[in-house]
């Protein structure tokens, strides 16, 4: 299949969005859903075709000497800032872009299908705004696809904004609920703040490299910023600000942009709230695709980051801390979606850390394929995580749809009633916990190896977080499906959902089982050359052991109803509450935005405007008015008064003139 078909992959969702958005309102609700699914199916098939062609197909310029090259399919000018600085809207395929095509279309397809069932009530009637929902899904898919095939940094920024908006619209889908509006607003503004840094980063970077393009195009004869990263850095080397080079600043700012989308600490606060959106949306956007945009961004600029070690260290620290922080919170959350959201944050932080450690030196490098290992592991984990996290969210959606609550104390013991869901969830949990042979094991193992390469401390830290992952995932699992007998409501007992909802679960579960065997090391590497890896038995065994300990602990505490969890919570009340309240980050933000910015800046400025500036101009008017009314008295209409003034005026002038004549 020609790689230029990628255009269709991008265009179909866009057309779908326009069609459903403009015409859909007039159409039968179900029909729009089916149309959306068909459109998505075509997109998915095309995307698979393109991606597989890129990886395995006949050579279309993507392989040179066994090294995969980036292929620019299409790259027209979109906006010319100056002769050299041009924003292009193009399509570029390279290993990660092709992989992302598969991830996005797969999850999106599953979500489209799943939503057919989920967005209906129990009688099978589609919800209000069904058409809008599918239009927004198409818009999101388009934006995300546009983001991953971007040929230049600015295009990524553009689609960053687009996915942000689609996310905003979908989180706020239930726009009558105040919580949803609040969450959507929060998500948009926090990511917007991060995008601001991203923008500044782009401005700095493009100023010094004089291009936005990643790779130069032979047609235009220009060099991109990744063609020769050293040269790009050298251009910025002379400039420095506050002791760091301009490039370090730029890359850090760009990372902050990515951190906003990828919910790194402290910009993570929007993601748990984003769960106010419909659950399939959470699966698609806030678990599988959009939230990894930040990881993708850093991976995209990896050649630059590798050289600029300072920025890399920041990413590493932030990632490692976030992984632990989110895992700790996930251990105590009672809302199933919240817990999954924190798990997502933690897992994305794994990917970030993995990218950041991959440039570390050390003797292990020679054995394990050099500094591309972390990069490869990160991308691989991105892929597997997307699958099993989507699976987990869709399962959660099925459960919520069945019991009408997000809280796990409303669930308990559902295993009997929803066996398919239960098995699918279990597979997801095993995958994320890193139990072989499920997908998560393979990718997480690589990440841990890369972390040990960076330093033994990093490795231990990440292993510990991996153990926590296993613990909190199985905590959720046991609390939902076991713990104690479910109180069956008489009107409708929870049961497995219709086939539109279970089929995606089964497919994703299957993928989660086998995805680990994808030869990622051969396909997805930062320089395109295959990476030779081998299983590091020490790391693998330890990590499996730690995961098992985590699972065992969860089994002990949560499989059967027992007072142990409550006792622990009571004993460490302070810690437990802090973790449950997410370490008060939301309150901190609330304080800054409301008390400091709104009350402390906006209100005084508005007052200042009315009182001082407006007051000044009003005062001018007032003074004029007063003086005018004062002067008006002079215009009395009394002729004699005029004569006095006139006569004495004339005398005065005469006298003055006389004085001048005399002297």
């Amino acid at each position: 299949m020609p790689l230029s078909y990628t255009i269709a992959v991008i265009a179909i969702p866009l057309l779908m969005f326009l069609f459903l958005g403009l015409v859909g309102v007039k159409m039968e609700k179900k029909l729009t859903g089916i149309l959306g699914c068909i459109g998505m199916l075509v997109t998915t098939v095309l995307a698979y075709g393109v991606a597989l062609t890129y990886f395995f197909g006949a050579d279309q310029g993507q392989m040179t000497d066994g090294v995969r090259q980036a292929v620019t399919v299409f790259n027209p000018d979109w906006l010319s800032f100056s002769k050299t600085l041009v924003v292009r809207m193009g399509i570029m395929l390279d290993p990660i872009a092709a992989m992302m095509l598969i991830v996005i279309t797969t999850v999106s397809m599953m979500v489209h299908l799943y939503s057919l069932g989920y967005m209906c009530d129990h009688h099978g009637h589609a919800e209000k705004g069904f058409q809008r929902y599918y239009a927004f899904l198409a818009l999101f898919t388009f934006s995300m696809l546009g983001l991953v095939v971007a040929t230049n940094l600015f295009q990524i920024f553009i689609f960053f904004e687009m996915v942000g908006v689609s996310s905003y619209l979908l989180i706020g889908f239930y726009y009558e609920s105040p919580a949803a509006i609040h969450a959507s607003k929060k998500a948009f503004i926090v990511t917007r703040l991060a995008d601001l840094f991203f923008l500044v980063g782009i401005l700095i970077l493009s100023f010094y490299t004089n291009t936005f393009d990643f790779f130069g195009s032979e047609v235009n004869g220009i060099a991109g910023m990744l063609d020769n990263p050293q040269a790009s850095l050298a251009q910025a080397g002379t400039a420095s600000f506050m002791g760091c080079s301009a490039m370090a600043w730029a890359l850090t700012f760009i990372f902050i942009g990515g951190a906003g989308k990828s919910a790194m600490y402290p910009l993570h606060i929007w993601l748990p709230d984003a769960m106010e959106g419909p659950t399939p949306v959470s699966a698609l956007i806030h678990a599988a695709t959009m939230v990894v945009a930040g990881v993708y961004l850093v991976a995209r600029l990896f050649p630059l980051y590798v050289i600029e070690q300072g920025a890399m260290d920041i990413i590493c620290v932030v990632g490692a801390f976030t992984a632990f922080y989110a895992a700790a919170i996930a251990c105590v959350q009672s809302d199933i979606k919240r817990a999954l959201a924190f798990s997502t944050i933690s897992q994305i932080a794994f990917m970030m850390t993995s990218l950041a450690v991959s440039s570390a030196g050390g003797e292990l490098i020679q054995i394990h394929g050099g500094y591309g290992l972390g990069y490869m592991a990160s991308m691989f984990h991105l892929f597997t995580h997307a699958m099993f996290k989507a699976l987990l969210f869709l399962c959660a959606g099925a459960i919520i749809h069945a019991v009408h609550s997000n809280e796990n104390d409303q669930m308990h013991g559902l295993h009997k009633y929803m066996p398919i869901t239960s098995f699918a969830f279990l597979i997801g949990c095993l995958a994320i916990a890193g139990i072989p042979p499920f997908a998560g094991f393979w990718s997480k193992d690589e990440i841990l190896v890369a972390a040990y390469q960076k330093g033994i401390g990093w490795g231990i830290w990440m292993s510990m977080v991996a153990g926590m992952t296993a613990f909190y995932m199985f905590r959720i699992y046991f609390l939902i499906f076991h713990w104690k007998e479910h109180k069956v409501h008489t009107e409708h007992a929870p049961a497995d959902q219709p086939w539109t909802m279970t089929l995606p679960l089964i497919i994703l579960a299957a993928i989660s089982v086998v995805a680990g065997f994808v030869p990622a090391a051969k396909l997805v590497t930062w320089d395109g050359a295959p990476l030779h890896t081998q299983l590091n038995w020490t790391v693998a065994c330890t990590s499996v052991l730690i995961a098992c300990v985590g699972i065992g602990l969860a089994y002990k505490m949560y499989y059967k109803e027992n007072p142990l969890p409550q006792r622990l919570a009571d004993r460490y009340r302070g810690l437990w509450t802090a973790a449950y309240k997410r370490f008060y980050m939301d309150e901190l933000y609330q304080f800054i935005t409301h008390k400091v910015i709104f009350q402390g800046i906006c209100k005084p400025i508005a007052k200042f405007d009315r009182a001082i500036i407006d007051g000044f101009f009003n005062m001018l008017a007032e003074v004029t008015n007063t003086v005018s009314f004062g002067i008006r008295k002079l215009q009395s209409g009394s002729i004699q008064a005029y004569v006095y003034v006139y006569f004495f005026g004339a005398l005065l002038i005469a006298a003055v003139t006389a004085l001048f004549v005399i002297f």
Partner: protein, 171 residues
């Protein structure tokens, strides 16, 4: 050197002008004021005669003394109540007027004495201003001719007549 008659004439005219002017503005009764004005106008007419402008003197008497003053008298009689003939002046107003008048007079006098060269002149000899000469100038369109202002004044008088009729007509 002037003849004594001239000097006496001069003093009579000048004194009557001064005295009656002052009386005109200082008397409280309007009717008297108008009468004093009449005397002033007569004295002025006499001055014109003395300056060898008999036509001007005649006009002065006919128009001013004969016309305007009569108008004044009529309007005074029409507007005055019999009992409020005395007009009282407030002190500050009076003094302000005196100061203004004196200051003006003083300034002008200073200017006059500053131009002693002109002011010291005597009356030069002059041809008679005959009526013929006057009429020619008045109706001439040549240089020094006054036809245009003459016509303008006639239009003005017409406008004035019409205006007077319109204003005075009872609506």
């Amino acid at each position: 050197m002037e003849s004594l008659g001239n000097i006496i004439m001069f003093f009579v005219i000048v004194l009557s002008i001064i005295v009656f002017s002052v009386l005109t503005v200082t008397t409280r009764r309007l009717l008297r004021s108008a009468t004093y004005l009449l005397f002033v106008l007569f004295a002025t007419a006499a001055l014109y005669f003395k300056m060898d402008y008999p036509f001007l003197g005649a006009v002065q008497i006919a128009v001013y003394a004969g016309g305007i003053v009569v108008l004044f008298v009529f309007s005074i009689l029409l507007t005055q109540h019999p009992d409020d003939d005395a007009e009282s002046l407030s002190k500050p107003r009076k003094w302000l007027g005196i100061v203004a008048a004196l200051a003006g007079v003083a300034l002008s006098a200073a200017a006059l004495f500053g131009y002693a060269k002109f002011c010291g002149r005597l009356v030069p000899a002059m041809d008679d201003v005959t009526m013929e000469k006057l009429g020619r100038f008045l109706l001439s369109t040549e240089k020094w001719g006054y036809l245009l202002p003459f016509e303008a004044v006639s239009v003005l008088l017409l406008a004035c007549i019409i205006g007077g009729v319109v204003i005075a007509r009872r609506r």
